[in-house]
Every structure is written in structure tokens, then in C-alpha cells.
Amino acid sequence: MIQECGGTNGLFESFRDLTGRWLGEVAALIIASFIGVQAVGANEVDYNQQIKPLLQSRCYGCHGALKQKAQLRLDTVESMLQGGKSGPAVRRGDAVKSLLIQRVIETQLDERMPPEHEGEALSEGQVALMRQWITDGARAPADETPETDPKEHWAFRPIKPPKVPRVGNTDWGRNPIDAFLGQKHEALGIHPQPEASGSVQLRRVYLDLIGLPPEPEEVVRVAPIDTSVWYERTVQRLLQDPRHGERWARHWMDIWRYSDWWGLGQELRNSQKHLWHWRDWMVESFNADMPYDEMIRLMLAADELHPGDTDKLRATGFLARNYFLFNRDRWLEETVEHVGKGFLGLTLNCAKCHDHKYDPIAQKDFYRMRAFFEPYQVRLDMLPGETDLARNGLPRAFDAKLETPTYVFVRGQEMQPDKSERIQAGVPELLAFKPLSIRPVTLPALAWQPERQSWVLLDHCESARRMVQQAEVALEQGRQKLEEARRSLAPSSEVALRDSGGGQAVLSPAQLAEGEFKLAGLSLDSARAEQKAVERRAEAMRATWATENSAGHTLEQAPKIEEQEAVTAAIRAEREMALAKSRQVLASNEWRLRLAKADQKAGIEKEMTAARDSFEKAAKAVESPVTPGDKFTRLTGSKWTTTRFIHPDRDDPSFEFPRESSGRRSALADWITDPRNPLTARVAVNHVWARHMGAPLVSPVFEFGRKGKPPDHSELLDWLASELIESGWSLKHLHELIVTSAAYRMSSSVTGAGDSATRDPDNRYWWRRTPIRLEAEVVRDSILSMAGVLDTTRGGPSVAPGDQASSRRRSLYFFHSNNDRNLFLTTFDEAAVIECYQREQSIVPQQALALSNSAFVHDAAGWIAARISRPAASMATESISDSEFVRGAFERILGQSPTEAQTAASLKALLAWREENSAETTQSDLDGISDAERRHRDSRRHLMWALLNHNDFVTLR
């Protein structure tokens, strides 16, 4: 019932009414208590600074370029003077008679502006400002222009590749990116900083492209820094490096909201088990340079486009992640919100309760977008080699309920659906550059009967076979135990004794072993019966499929008799399995009864009665003939992830997987990825730019609508967007363009910047490189890598929280959800799974504590020191000199050779650490080394600790 944005709450107010308080009084109270009235005495009110922004945020939504309610526009003073249906809104010098003032101070709710549910009343301070401005004569700026038509908004216009400008400073530029920036530099009279040193660039490009620092020998191998092509060759090599996919997948995992599952305790409430399949798909796709448009299509609709292809279906983890056990509205609202923000840079969520206040998105459009997703649900498909879906399975989307209607919720309140109209899937009209074509997709039988996947029946049989094997082993063990017990005991002790206290039978070891052995035999019988049943069921299913075509329709000329025989065999085998199992249950109950204490017997006897019943039933069933109505239990290849929308303690009713998919999501994907879509490519290049360059071209990165700031570099953005599209949506092409630009390669220092630093202190025009605080994962992964202990295993299940402290895997493989977040990573602003379109780069004391106190850093410091001290494994001792050591340490941890001053400071500290009185404990006894040796080694470890706590380690210069 609480609206997402704008407006006030209907029910809330009606409760206010119940208390007998009139809302006007409430508003008056708010005003009286909260608003410090701004001083507007002697100083004249500044229209541009004080009035226009207010009108823009509170009034333009209905009285501007977007809409002209009552034919009134408030976006220029001239239009205010001219007015609308009710006459002029503003009368110069006369605030009292100005309709604008009258309407905003109106206490009658149905007359007030902004209207109820569209926005709060203006504050007294705001009204005072307006009055003053009008009283002062409602002065207007000379060159005031009305708001531009929303169609003309830069981000909604088609992307046309702009001409690359010619610039004077030809020495600087390396590619068109620099030409666009250079043109601005010339216009503003600022000068780009020189190229950073080779070592700074090397560290930069390694950490940026693969998320790990360069290994010294790797650098030598690729291209020594003194060759002319070293940089380009390094870039090409890193873009081909499989670690690149790991690095950039993590960026897109932020944007696409990757999260492992979470819930209360073991109850799954959000996202899905085994969602890592989607993460692995991302890593592989980025490494393979899968076109960005194709990635979007697969994430939104792989189940419609490639229904039987499990590799591609992994992509729909994007949708599976939005699963929410309890509430469909929250689930779908989040889906719409983040499809809007993530792919399109549109805040569709602002239109949930009312028309969007800034963009041409009607409230109905929010629900039209929702309708694309209305039918979808989530299930786990079986993957080769594992039939237990708790251990592995593929979380994926599919259309389940094609008939579910979508309704507009009145004022966004899910309790108030407007059932007068069923909403059809569609996109906002302004962005409908072509008619949407939604065609239902007929699915192959493989998709709606996933048990038809080649491995499913085989795996069921294999798993039954393994159960038999295990039962055989257990039986053999039982037999050995029995023999042992018989051998080791004198005949006299075989007599059963009675325990006087608990009334419990006391059995001899041999009797015990004999009982266990018999039970093991029954278990084996049962496992064998199960194996037979599974095999017969599999055969029966294959026989049925033989009578159908690939779409699952029965053929007319079908070999019916074989099928019937197979089905009958399956039914019989299943009955026999039931009998074997119930025999086993009965026997084990008898055995338990024999061993039980007196007070437990009644309970077990009750269970015995039930077990005897089912045994008798099973025996009867085996005797009775198979009749045409009888069925066997089909082996399954998938499980729907149940929802609890109706009641929190009960699963909603299950259903059969439909043979058709609505085709809605492929239509949506087609619209999003159409090269004519003005937003998709612009939003993508902005994300990529922000991560390479430390700041985006358009901010906030999820707001390309009219509320956001128009970009300073729209031509550059458009050029990059066109490049992305024309390269076949190759992200690697985009990466290469950006990292080989002169803009990327500049120094981040302001030294020698002269006028540039004063003319553009915020670096809006990219005259220097923006330093970046390393992301959480890069901090941790780099430390492991420098220590030489990074576990480079790729992919697979996420590392469980309990295993993370000892794990040396890359951080992106850590289990990461709303509930479970790694402490070290969180300290460095790791992504929140709810929403993270741009990472924070905070600098807080917790980071200092983590880097200076954690066992992780202390241990790694020792490993790094050992590695530098003994560059080759063949070296017996730590033989390199202190100054060689200092050089090695700076190069490895900071990617830089030390200056003389840095070396001197470090050498001084090494000596200080070695002073006698610095000894803390006597570990040397344990190590078998001398005190001096220990101090020597510890001092080098401490130097590593210091460099890891150096600002230059966590900063990408």
C-alpha cells in the first residue's frame, strides 16, 4: 500500500481521518515543526536557483513538456503569465491573486496542487519563496526556453555515429575517444596530463582487465616495457586471458544482481540453489566475447529461443534470481525495475503508482512491462551425472501459467487490481520504434518433458545401480561382522540375557550381527527391486516416446503393443519394489522392537501395525492383474520451485509444464537488443566506461531519463555505442578501444597540471586519469596472487561461507547473498545483491582494521616476503640483499620500483624491526633457527605488512 515514489498514501490518510484529525492540520503541524523558513528578506529570490528547480521537481510532470494539464505549462515565466484554462497562473507583483499561489496553499484536498496522491503539499518555506518572487515582479531570465519535447531527450533519440572531430593536439590522441575529449580540452583551454609511467600502466591494465597484478616474469615474456608495441600486445594478451572473463563477469554480476540463494535457515526464500551455473555462463560468455545483444536475449528468453540447450539455459539464471517464495508482486516488480535500470537505464519503477513524473512512461506501461514476465516461473532441471536436485541442478526460467492476467494496481496497491482491463505486454509508446511481435513458441517435448534429455533416464538407472552396489557392500560387511562375531565368542556367551531394569533384550554380539546381516539382505532386495523398477519405468517411457513425434504428439501408426507391454512391466516392477520396501520396513521395525526399552515398545508397535498394513497391501497389489487404468510413476527430469503465495506454510498447487511458451520474453529481448533501441548500447558502454575510467559518462548509471544529468560527452557516448553495435556487440572491442586510448593511459597526478586543475577541478573533461580504490575482490585476489597461493580453479559451486577463511579461490566464487557476505569483502564495499549499479569506494577505518589486523593479511605478508626473498625455489636460503628485497617488494606489491627515499625509509624500518628489544615471543625454539635469523625474517614480513597497508596498494593510480 505504500507507493514507490511521489504522492502520499491513501490508506494512511484515511486512518488519519479516523482519528478525527483533518489532514490540513497534520500538514500544518509538519510545516510548523520542520521547516526552517529560509530567509528571503533583503536578498532577491533567484528564479533559476530557487524557483525553477522547485517547479521542475513538483509541477513539470503535469504542466511541462510531458503533459499540459488544463493547457497550462509552468516551464517558462512567459507560459505562467499566459496561463491555461483557468487564466494566468502568475500575476506579476500580486502573489495573492496569482493562481499558482492560491492552488498550492489550497487546503481543500481536491483543489490543491500538487493533487492528492501526486505529491505532498509544498512547504511553507517553498510557498514563501514563490510569493516573494511574484511580489518582486516574477522576473524571468532573458533567454528562458521551454522544456524540450521528451521525444527530443538525448537518450531517446536514435544513436547516430557522430563524426570524429579533428583536433589540433595531434601528438596526444591515440584513437577517436581522444579526439572527442581533445576537442573539449581545446575548447576549454585545458591540457591532458602526460602518459603514466610504463609500470603504472602495466599495473593499471592488469588489475583492470584480469583483476590480478602482473607477475614479473609474465611481463618479461609478453613484451618488455621498452618495446614500442608492449602496451598493445599486453592488452591483446590480457583480453584473451581466461581470467579476463572472471574479472568482468564480476562487474556484470553487480549490474545483473547475481545472488546465491537465501532464506530463513535452510528454507529457500530468494534466488535459487545452484545459481552458480549462471555465473559460470557469464565467465565463459565474456571470455568467448559472446555478443552483448545475444547475452541479453539468452538471459531473458533462452528457454524460448533454445529450449533444449542446457548450456544456454544457464543464462536464464538472470530471471531465476528474482524468485521470491512469498510474493509474486514483489518478485515481478523487482524484475521490471531491474530490467529497466540494468539494460535500459530507465526508472520504470517510478511508474508503478502513477505516470512517470519525468519520462513519457505511463503507469500502464509499468504493468505492460510486467505482463512480459507474468507467466514465468522457475524450476530446477536435472543435469548429467546427478539425480539429486539438492546437490546439483540447473535453475532456469520457463513460462508456466500462460493465462494469468496482468492488471494495473490502482495507485500501485496490489490489493486494488483494476480488473476492468487485462493488460497486454508492451513497451512505452515513445520507444516503440517498431511493432512488437509476440508469437507463442511451440516447445519441443524435450522442454516440457525434461526427462527426455538424453541423460535423465540413464542417470536414474545409474543411480539405482549405485544404490544396489552400496547395498551389496553393506551386506558383505555385515557378513564379515557376523563371521567375526561367531568366531570370537565362546558358545556359552551366546545365551540371551534379560536386562532387569529397562526390560530391554540384551543380545550377544553374534545375535546383533545376525540381525543386522538379515536387514542388510532385505535392503539389498529392496535396492534391486528399485533398480528393476527404475529400469522398467525408463523402458516404458522410451516405448511411449517411440510412439510420438518430437513435439510430443502421438503418431497414428504407432506400435501400440510394445508400448503396452512395457507399461505393464513397469507397473509390475513398481509393485514389486513397493513390496520389497515394505518388507524391509516391517523387518526393521521388528528388529527395533526387539532392541527397544519397555517404554518405547508401544510407539514402535503402532508403527508396526502401519507397516504390516502396507506390506499386506503391497502383497495384494503384486497378485492383482494390471488393468488399463493403472499407471506407473514417471521418472522426472525437473522440479518446479514451489511458491507460497497463497499461504506461508503451504506450497501452492503444482501444475504440468505447458507445451507452449508465450513468446513474450523473446519479443521483449528482441526490442531491447534491436540496434534501433536508443538506450541499450548507450547504457552498456556507460557501464564499461565507468569501470575502466573510474567514473561514468552518464550519472546515475541507471538513469538515462529526463531526471538525470545530460552527459558532458554525449558525442563520445554515442560514438562508443555505435562502435559497440557495429562491431557485432563485441565487448572486447569496446574494452580494447577504451584501454588503448590516450585518455586511459594518462597519469592520475595533478602535478604540472597548471590551469587544467583550476578550470576543471572535478576532472569532468578527463584531462587526467581518475584514481580508483580497488574493488573488494581485487584487494583479496591480488594479495593471494602476490603470495603465490591463489587457487586458480575455475567455476563450480560457490565456496560456502564456512570454507571461505581457508579458501584461496578467487573472490567471485565465494557464496554471496543477501544473508551471507564475506566480512573482508564487505569491508571494501562489495556489491549488495539487492542493487549495485555502481560500487561505493568508501574509505573507512574498518578497512584499516581489516588490512592491519586480519590473519589473512598477516599470513599473506609472510608468504609474499618468502617468495621475494627466495625468487627461485632452488635457492636454499633467503640470500638476496635487503635493498634487492626492498626493490622486489615494491615491484610486486605496488607495481613500482622504489625511489631512493622509499628505499631509505624501508631499509631504516627493516633495521628497527631487527633491534634486539623488538623480540616479542620466542618462536625460534620451535623453528630451530637463531634469534637473529628470526628477526631478519620477521622484519621482511613486517615490510610486506606495511606495503599492503600503503594507500598505493589499494589505489589504482
Binding site: I30, G36, W262, T751, A832, A850
Partner: protein, 461 residues
């Protein structure tokens, strides 16, 4: 993470996001003259029964065993009045058979406010309390814990908690300590505070263990003070050398400052949690000599010591984890009697101790839970979740004492007089701290009137 003024990188970042001309990051000063400077937020997880704590309802005993529809108060079940419910997980079950009061009540103090016999010590301080008996919320499941902290139903998404707003809006009172502290277990839906304000505004979780109170609060490997100090000197020198090559780098300056603060904090926090210098009388005031209330007593004593040292916001969860300890679906009598025993003496001790040290005037103490409990019975001896009317109380910080504000109907079902949504509590606290929540709004994050709430003027002194 509980430190104002140092989230510098975040600040620079945010600068770039500003899209409204008038917007600027808070400067850490109150917007108007504050009446209070700190908050101790005591949250009883699970849902305290309003009628068995601070809102006695003899009619429940009179009509015990009757269906609500058979009593003169049948109107409380009007569908219209029940329509505010909106659950994280639907939980709407009407408990229609009235369940009698499980505990006696008597008037206390000069004000004569009635308090249940389960809270005898707090009752003796009742003249210090402003009891609000007319709260309502919308989430009838434990997502309401989040709702009480953020003001939003969790179906709407994730939003900053009140503590995060205070932290965001106000500067530091003590540079050696985190300004926003969380004590006690929090369930996953209520784990974080900053949300869109950023992790820099999450509460710093603390353990009441002077040996290890803070994550990474001491070196996890042997590292002598002297070795550390040589190391820090070197770091300082190297950072200064970098400052020559990269002058005017705000990130570098913030990083250096963050290390200094971290070090001071690492020293100060254990000192605050070391109770050895508290007198035996003070320790027993908080109930530290009784096993049943020692844990909570230690938390509250720590809270006082933090407030004394200038910490802004201390958020304490009682019985956190899972649904919460107060969630008495069955066995309410044993449940509430036990929980009350654990918190009653420590809370009364806190009020006394704050007052005698002159801290109560500038510290707001809040006692609250996510919702109340049903007048009807569940599983014969329990009560279910109840969102339509429940009680909280506040004390100190420029608020009136010995007053009751608002009322529920005869069954304790609906708040009927001076109804307050949970954000009215937020507004009252922010107002006393001198903050205008409307001035704290962040571009791109529109807030509604209901998010801001309205201060409860009737209880402000």
C-alpha cells in the same frame, strides 16, 4: 559502517551523482537546535503483547473464551479496518476467541500509569516514560522488524534504517568511537542499515567482550606494539612520499585519517567494554549479578558507557534471530514472564543510571517491538502477530515523562486515538536530534510523506 566524515571516497562518488541543484551532502550539523544528542534503541524481537505490558485490557478477561463477534466489540473485525495488512509472507489469520490477560496490572508513580506486573522495575520509573499505545504497522509477519527500523514495508524493497539516517545527518561526537553501534543478533531481513546511503552508514556490530569486541579489532596474529608502531611510521612516511608525486589527493588524506581513527578506536572500544571500574552498586543496578538478566544488563551498561563517551546511536536487539524471542504463539505466559525478567531490571537500571549522571536529558531511550499480539488466542495459550494497535515507550531526550499518548479500543485491537504509524517515532527522534528528514533526501531516492512521518508533539516537553 558507522563513521561519519570519513566515507570520503563515497562522498566524492556521490557528488557525481547529484542531479538536483540544491542538493549537498549533509555537513554534520543539526538543522535546528537539538534537544537530545544520543539514542538508545531497545528493540524486542518477536512482538511484545501490548495488553500484557503497557496497555491493560480488562475486557479480555471479562469476555475470555468468547468470539469477538459475540462481544459488544464485534466491529473491530470490519474488513475495511483490516485492509492495511500487507505481508512479507501472508500471515493473516484472525484469532477470534478472546484470550484473558495473563498478568496483573497496577498503577504506578505520580502519574498512576498502569504497567503489567511483569515489568516491576520499569514500572517504578513510569513517571519518566512517555507511553504510546496507538502504534500501527502493515507487515503482519516479522518483516515488520525491518519496517520498524526503516519505515517501509519490506515488499517495497530495502531502505535505510533510522540509525543510518541519523548517522548520515549528524557529525561525530567522539572521533575515537564508531557513531552507530549495533548490539545483539539481527535476522537477515533486518541485518543492514545503510542500504542506499551506502555501507559507510551501516551500524558497527559490537560484541560485549573486551577481549574481542569488534571485527578485526585486534591483530589476529602476534604483532608487538613496537613492531606495529615501526610499521605504521613507515606507512606514514611512504604515504607522505606518494603525496609528493600525487598532490591534492583527497583519497590519500582520507586513508591516512582512517588509519589514525582505526587505531584510536581499537584502543577505545575495549576500554569502554571493560566494566572493572564500575562500582558494585552500578553493576547490580543493571542486574549483572543475576544470571537471568546479565547478558542484557551488560549490553545496557555498555550502552550507557558509549553514550557517555559521545556515541550517537546504539541499537540493541533483544531476543534477535529467527522470528524473535518474544514471538509467543503458544505459552505466552512463560515466554513473556521470562523475557520480561531478562530485560526489566537492566532497563530500569539504565534509566536510573542515565538520570543520575545527567545523561537522560540528552539521551532518548526507546522500548519497542515490531508489532503487538492478538487479543484472541492462538494454540490455546498464545497470541498471534498483531499490527493494528500496539505500544512503545520513549524516555529522556526532551520528551515528557509520566504521560500516556494514544489509545487502542477496549480489546486492544485497533489504535483508535492519536494513531501513529512507525515513522512518527522516527520523526519524533529526528526532531529531538535537530534533524529535518526532508533535508536529508538523496537525489534519485524520492521519499513519501509517510516515510518522513510526523513528530508526536504531545509527548515533547
Amino acid at each position: 559502517m558507522g563513521f561519519t566524515g570519513l566515507a570520503l571516497g563515497a562522498m566524492l562518488q556521490r557528488d557525481g551523482k547529484a542531479s538536483e541543484l540544491t542538493w549537498a551532502l549533509p555537513d554534520g550539523r543539526p538543522h535546528f537546535s537539538p534537544q537530545a544528542r544520543s539514542v538508545i534503541w531497545l528493540f524486542m524481537n518477536g512482538g511484545v503483547s501490548q495488553m500484557e505490558s503497557f496497555d491493560p485490557k480488562p475486557m479480555l478477561t471479562k469476555y475470555a473464551g468468547k468470539k469477538i463477534s459475540e462481544t459488544p466489540f464485534a466491529g473491530v473485525q470490519d474488513a475495511g479496518k483490516l485492509a492495511i495488512e500487507r505481508s512479507f509472507a501472508m500471515n493473516a489469520e484472525q484469532r477470534s476467541v478472546l484470550y484473558p490477560l495473563q498478568v496483573g496490572f497496577r498503577p504506578h508513580g505520580q502519574s498512576g500509569i498502569e504497567v503489567s506486573d511483569w515489568f516491576p522495575n520499569v514500572a517504578r520509573r513510569v513517571d519518566k516514560l512517555a507511553v504510546i499505545r496507538s502504534l500501527w504497522t502493515t507487515d503482519s509477519n516479522h518483516g515488520a522488524q525491518t519496517q520498524f527500523h526503516t519505515g517501509r514495508n519490506s515488499l517495497d524493497g530495502e531502505f535505510p534504517t533510522l540509525g543510518a539516517w541519523v548517522h548520515y545527518g549528524l557529525g561525530s561526537l567522539n572521533q575515537n568511537l564508531p557513531q552507530f553501534i549495533s548490539i545483539g543478533q539481527r535476522e537477515y531481513w533486518n541485518k543492514k542499515d545503510g542500504h542506499y546511503l551506502g555501507p559507510a552508514h551501516d551500524a558497527v556490530p559490537l560484541r560485549i567482550d573486551p577481549g574481542n569486541p569488534l571485527d578485526y579489532g585486534r591483530s589476529e596474529r602476534p604483532f608487538s606494539r613496537r613492531d606495529r608502531s615501526v610499521g605504521m611510521d613507515l606507512v606514514r612516511e611512504l604515504n607522505a612520499l606518494s603525496g609528493v608525486e600525487y598532490p591534492q589527493d583527497p583519497g590519500l588524506a582520507a586513508r591516512i585519517a582512517s588509519y589514525e581513527l582505526a587505531y584510536r578506536m581499537q584502543m577505545s572500544v575495549p576500554e569502554i567494554l571493560d566494566f572493572s571500574r564500575e562500582t558494585a552498586e552500578t553493576r547490580s543496578l543493571y542486574g549483572l549479578d543475576h544470571a537471568h538478566c546479565r547478558d542484557f544488563g551488560q549490553q545496557l551498561l555498555a550502552a550507557r558507557r558509549f553514550v557517555e563517551s559521545g556515541v550517537r546511536f546504539i541499537q540493541i536487539q533483544h531476543g534477535g534471530g529467527g522470528a524473535g524471542a518474544w514471538d509467543a504463539h503458544s505459552g505466552l505466559r512463560a515466554n513473556h514472564a521470562g523475557n520480561a525478567l531478562a530485560v526489566d531490571q537492566p532497563i530500569a537500571g539504565l534509566l536510573i543510571d542515565l538520570e543520575r549522571r545527567g545523561l537522560l536529558d540528552e539521551t532518548i531511550v526507546l522500548f519497542a517491538s515490531e508489532f503487538g499480539r492478538t487479543p484472541g488466542s492462538q494454540s490455546s495459550d498464545g497470541r498471534d502477530h498483531h499490527i493494528f494497535g500496539f505500544s512503545v515507550w520513549m524516555a529522556g531526550g526532551g520528551l515528557k515523562g509520566g504521560v500516556v499518548h494514544g489509545a487502542t479500543d477496549e480489546l486492544g485491537f485497533h489504535a483508535v486515538e492519536n494513531r501513529h504509524y512507525v515513522t512518527d517515532i522516527h520523526a519524533t527522534i529526528l526532531g529531538q536530534l535537530g534533524l529535518d528528514s526532508r533535508k536529508l533526501e538523496v537525489p534519485g531516492r524520492k521519499r513519501l510523506a509517510i516515510d518522513h512521518g510526523t513528530p508526536i508533539h504531545e509527548i515533547i516537553a
